[in-house]
Amino acid sequence: MNMKVNIAGVEWNNPVTVASGTFGSGAEFAEFVDLNRLGAVTTKGVANIPWEGNPTPRVAETYGGMMNAVGLQNPGIDVFCERDIPFLRQYDTKIIVNVCGKSTEDYCEVVERLADEDVDMLEINISCPNVKAGGIAFGQNPKAAEEITRAVKKYAKQPVIMKLSPNVTSIAEMARAVEAGGADAVSLINTITGMKIDIRRKTFLLANRTGGVSGPAIHPIAVRMVYEAANAVKVPVIGMGGIASAEDAVEMILAGASAVSVGTANFFDPAVTMEIVDGIECYMKEQGFEMISDMVGIVK
């Protein structure tokens, strides 16, 4: 039996990574998790310059999940390259750098800067609902999504994963658009835009008013969208959205995901990814699967 997966030419030791923004650059989680046992670490989004992010409160709990509007606070690409890449390289795991920006030029600048860095894949965040410019503006229009994909591909030396938003009418159309733009893989779903009101104080719970909903409550929506995207494109799909157990991860794989990302569940249990890796292996043994690829998208 073999847990290895090949995502756009990059071989991961297993199909489990973490969702950008839920794991920092791995250092804080290294006390709880053996990073060598993750297929890949997907870093928190990084931009060309440092971003301060949104005012607080930035998070709220929701039924079976949470909502965030952190606003992509990040230290900028220079600090990231000096500090975070060398840290992660100590481990036997692939490095996926999540890239954010406010304009096409911003994205391209970061991608170009990373071209000669020792990282394995790039994930382009065109789906953050919590920043005013950039982010989701590129992720809700198929033409804009295709164009930005084509633009970053010109500078990218690593395979490019386009991270898609669920806040669209047709996820299949968005997946096809980025594939046409040259995406090597797609990842989905980012958070679903939500709002929570404090009825006693009669105001919004988050300073940003709206935030991205994540966690187990949105898992069925994510499974449906992964299924639709996987059936629309030939490139591999990295599935995420509310995965909190090995069962959730397997469900995503059967729906069409070639790999999975664990996000919000890292906040409930920092070591949950280890249980998920072990649990997928148990499932494969129990069900007689030799390879992950034998499971991908078999539910039609």
Binding site: E31, F32, Y63, Q73, V79, P270
Partner: protein
């Protein structure tokens, strides 16, 4: 890989005042805990998944237990579920988290230990562990529903304020300082932001070294998600912007390094 979420065992649970509960738990977190640190407490309810950051009120290293004194924040909340748990029940926790108060700096100093509302509990272990010239404990409450004051009495001079004037000075902890003509050359404080803002200003005016413990809504509790940040005066070395992480770089900060 040295840490994990742990099932702590509840040793006792007691109501201290309106909505205020005290819980002793048996936990590995006790061995390394310091005053001013907190633990993440989790419900056993799948609809309430985020940890509740709760400050440590007392530490008993000898028997490996911690005391938390917490407020039930409303009906159907995670803290209400904690309050319904009984001795022998298991409660998932991670801790100790955060930096804690630098109490060793109080050696030889005249100190204010100030707590307001649910910021009162972490001041107790601080008062117990602190060695200083003069220990003045100033604690503020809303009304006569006070708590822990007997235990503070055994650890220093205690001054109480209540918003409605039912016990001690009418007003807040700053009013209690003025009414009693107290002075200090070192301050440690935990409480609501308006109180900390007033203490920070007072410390600055009088040139007093002051440490304040901040609170913000958290998600991970371990410094990864960047939800619970506060504004810092200087660019922070980790975030590379003027934000500090309350859960990881705090919750205790030198008052002059943060903006409230």
């Amino acid at each position: 890989m040295t840490r994990k979420k742990e099932n702590a065992v509840i040793l006792s649970q007691k109501k201290l005042a309106q909505d205020i509960y005290s819980m002793w738990i048996q936990t590995e977190a006790a061995s390394e805990a310091k005053p001013g640190q907190f633990i993440s407490m989790y419900t056993n309810d799948g609809s309430k998944l985020l940890p509740r950051p709760i400050s440590i009120c007392e530490i008993n290293k000898a028997d490996g237990s911690l005391r938390v004194v917490y407020r039930v924040t409303g009906k159907d909340t995670g803290t209400e579920q904690f309050s319904q748990m009984k001795a022998g029940d298991k409660i998932p926790v991670i801790g100790p988290l955060g930096n804690g108060f630098p109490y060793e700096k109080a050696e030889g100093k005249k100190v204010f230990l100030m707590g307001g509302g649910i910021g009162v509990p972490p001041i107790l272990e601080l008062a117990k562990q602190m060695h200083c010239e003069k220990k003045q404990i100033i604690i503020g409450y809303r009304d006569r529903e006070t708590f822990l004051e007997d235990e503070f009495e055994q650890n220093g001079e205690v001054y109480i304020s209540t918003e409605d004037g039912s016990v001690g000075t009418k007003g807040n902890v700053m009013d209690a300082i003025r009414e009693n003509g107290l002075t200090a050359d070192m301050i440690y404080a935990c409480g609501p932001t308006p109180m900390l803002r007033a203490i920070k200003a007072y410390a600055q005016e009088n040139g007093i070294e002051c440490y304040i413990s901040l609170e913000e809504r958290m998600a991970c509790g371990i410094g990864a998600c960047l939800a619970c940040v506060c504004k810092s005066k200087e660019k922070d070395h980790h975030t590379n912007v003027n934000n500090k992480r309350i859960c990881k770089d705090g919750p205790v900060f030198l008052s002059t390094e943060v903006e409230l």
